[in-house]
């Protein structure tokens, strides 16, 4: 096996809406095994779209027009739909943004969690049950018996997200897509959840594509980072390098706009007009270059 083969390798991925507007503009991005890659950008930049593209759940209106996605070397675009589903199901998992709607309201937590291990991965019932309890313990759920019998609406937001984190790690995926997993939670719970994800990630050595709009979170959890603007990766580097010396003007503007944790009185400044104007022409130029070969 090739030790340097990326866990996830996205090469020049473009996607369009029915009206022809591009939501993803030749996105290239890779996640090495065991590594956390942050994907940061403002709301609407296309972060969720990239996650959905990887997991094979793009909305029907969004069409991929260019690019390859390789999951552990397997080209997802070349697989039959059935084989692709199986591969994605076995090797990936999602930690979603909204833990309430990500759980089925009419099924108890226990069967909902074990079901996937038993039905999809063919585990025995007792083995799946033991595994789920082990992970509930790892996400610091102290009363697993009660939680397993609950319906999702009987749990707090933080507890739901713990359950979903446990479920995501349960089948030992190689890659987890975490789509703003703390955004919907109370501020006090956010840090605990972030710590849990980081801890489980280290223990299991899982690669994570961590979607966030928060540079503070990027600094805490990731080793690599891609900065996304309007569906285009404008900067891509090691996290430490990004904070030490941001290269792209948009990254610098984003940093200036982010209040520091150390300075609670820092106000949220909007991104500079000049920077946005520069970005607009950069993206227009990229689209022009793209249209030529694609019509």
């Amino acid at each position: 096996m090739n030790a340097t083969r990326p866990c996830l390798d996205i090469q020049s991925l473009s996607a369009v809406l029915p009206n022809g507007a591009r939501v993803l503009r030749s996105v290239s991005l890779s996640v090495q095994p065991g590594e956390v890659r942050a994907l940061v950008g403002e709301s609407g930049a296309g972060k969720t779209m990239i996650g959905k593209a990887v997991l094979g759940v793009l909305p029907p209106s969004v069409r991929v027009v260019e690019g390859d996605m390789l999951l552990e070397g397997e080209d997802l675009g070349r697989l039959q739909p059935k084989a692709r589903r199986t591969l994605i199901g076995a090797r990936t998992a999602l930690i979603p943004q909204d833990p309430l709607t990500a759980l089925n309201p009419s099924r108890r937590i226990g069967p909902q969690m074990t079901d996937r291990l038993v039905r999809i991965l063919g585990w025995s019932g007792p083995r799946a049950d033991a595994r789920i309890r082990q992970l509930l313990d790892a996400v610091q759920i102290r009363d697993p018996d009660r939680v397993l019998k609950c319906y999702s609406h009987e749990l707090s937001g933080g507890m739901r997200q713990r359950v979903l984190i446990a479920a995501a790690f349960a089948a030992e995926p190689r890659l987890i897509v975490a789509d703003e997993p703390t955004t919907a939670l109370d501020v006090t719970v956010q840090k605990q959840i972030l710590r849990l994800i980081a801890q489980l990630q280290r223990e299991h050595g899982t690669a994570i594509l961590f979607v966030t709009h928060d540079l503070g979170v990027v600094a805490k959890i990731s080793q690599k980072v891609s900065v996304l603007y309007a569906g285009k990766v404008v900067e891509e580097t090691e996290t430490a390098a990004l904070f030490a010396a941001p290269q792209h003007p948009y990254t610098r503007a984003l940093m200036a706009a982010t209040p520091r944790y150390t300075d609670p009185f820092a106000s949220l400044k909007p991104v500079d007009e000049a920077v946005l104007a520069g970005l607009a022409s950069e993206i227009a130029a990229a689209d022009q270059a793209w249209r030529r070969p694609h019509g």
Binding site: I88, G89, P105, R116
Partner: protein
């Protein structure tokens, strides 16, 4: 939270009242020969138009009085419950099965399946239902099974429309996407993940439809298009009662009250069950 508790108490009371009446009606229907004080078909001109028990001139054993042929009204209502409830259960179940299945498919798969099913529903609903029923029974011939088939054929669209809309809402939820990512097949997701979430609505609609079936059966009996005229039906009794309203009001009023109570109970029972079944409302 407080609001939830109040509404839950309200739904509890109406669930028990409605359920109690429906249980009573069902028991009466099942054990009609044992319970009915008289033979519902026995005519006796000596006893014609006896008033109910509390009025002067009443006879013991004829609790709700008799009709113009001297037949015992209570016994006729009890036997009438048989046909009313058989039609209610059979017709509503058939309509539910057809409508919910198509609604689930249209709502979950969308696209062509949805377009075709929705178009059929639109065309179907363009017919006025009562006229449609009379037409169908005229074609199928009178009789219990024709009435059941007519109601199912007409009313499956109620289930289809509601279940389609609910399924669409559920299909957009993240848990469905999660199941896709995990590798479940589409039909498996539809049946195991989505269906349980629309079951409360199916149950509520089913109960409501039973009430509607009772009314439709009564209307068909009223216009003499239902079962053979010998068997007592609520609609048939009402039709007879209408003719003698000035001499014997009870022959019209008691079956009407019975009919209304039953129909209301079905709809309230369904709403109550839905509130109880729904894990989010519970």
């Amino acid at each position: 939270m407080d609001e939830g508790r109040i509404s839950r108490h309200g739904s509890g009371a109406r669930l028990w009242l409605a359920g109690g009446w429906l249980l009573l009606a069902s028991l009466a229907a099942i054990f009609a020969p044992l319970i009915a004080p008289q033979n519902p078909l026995a005519q006796d001109l000596m006893f014609e138009r006896l008033p109910p028990f509390w009025m002067s001139g009443a006879e013991p054993g004829f609790w709700l009085g008799t009709d113009s042929l001297g037949r015992d009204l209570l016994s006729r209502l009890i036997f009438g419950a048989r046909i009313a409830l058989i039609v209610a259960f059979a017709a509503a179940l058939a309509a539910c099965l057809i409508g919910s299945t198509l609604g689930l498919i249209a709502g979950y798969f969308g696209g062509w399946a949805d377009r075709i099913i929705s178009r059929i529903v639109d065309v179907w609903m363009a017919f006025p239902p009562v006229l449609f029923a009379i037409l169908l029974v005229a074609v199928l011939g009178t009789g219990l099974s024709s009435v059941i088939i007519a109601i199912a054929v007409i009313d499956w669209t109620r289930f289809c429309r509601v279940i389609r809309a609910e399924t669409m809402g559920q299909a957009r939820m993240d848990y469905v996407e999660n199941a896709r990512i995990a590798g479940y097949g589409r039909i498996g997701i539809m049946l195991r993940e989505v269906l349980p979430n629309v079951v409360p609505s199916i149950v509520a609609l089913l109960s409501l439809e039973m009430g509607i079936a009772v009314i439709v059966e009564a209307i068909l009996s009223f216009v003499n298009l239902s079962i053979s005229t010998d068997d007592p039906t609520w609609g048939g009794i009402i039709a007879e009662g209408r003719l003698s309203i000035h001499q014997a009001w009870w022959v019209l009023v008691f079956p009407l009250v019975t009919l209304i109570l039953t129909v209301l109970s079905f709809s309230q029972f369904g709403e109550g069950l839905k509130a109880r079944f729904d894990p989010v409302l519970r």
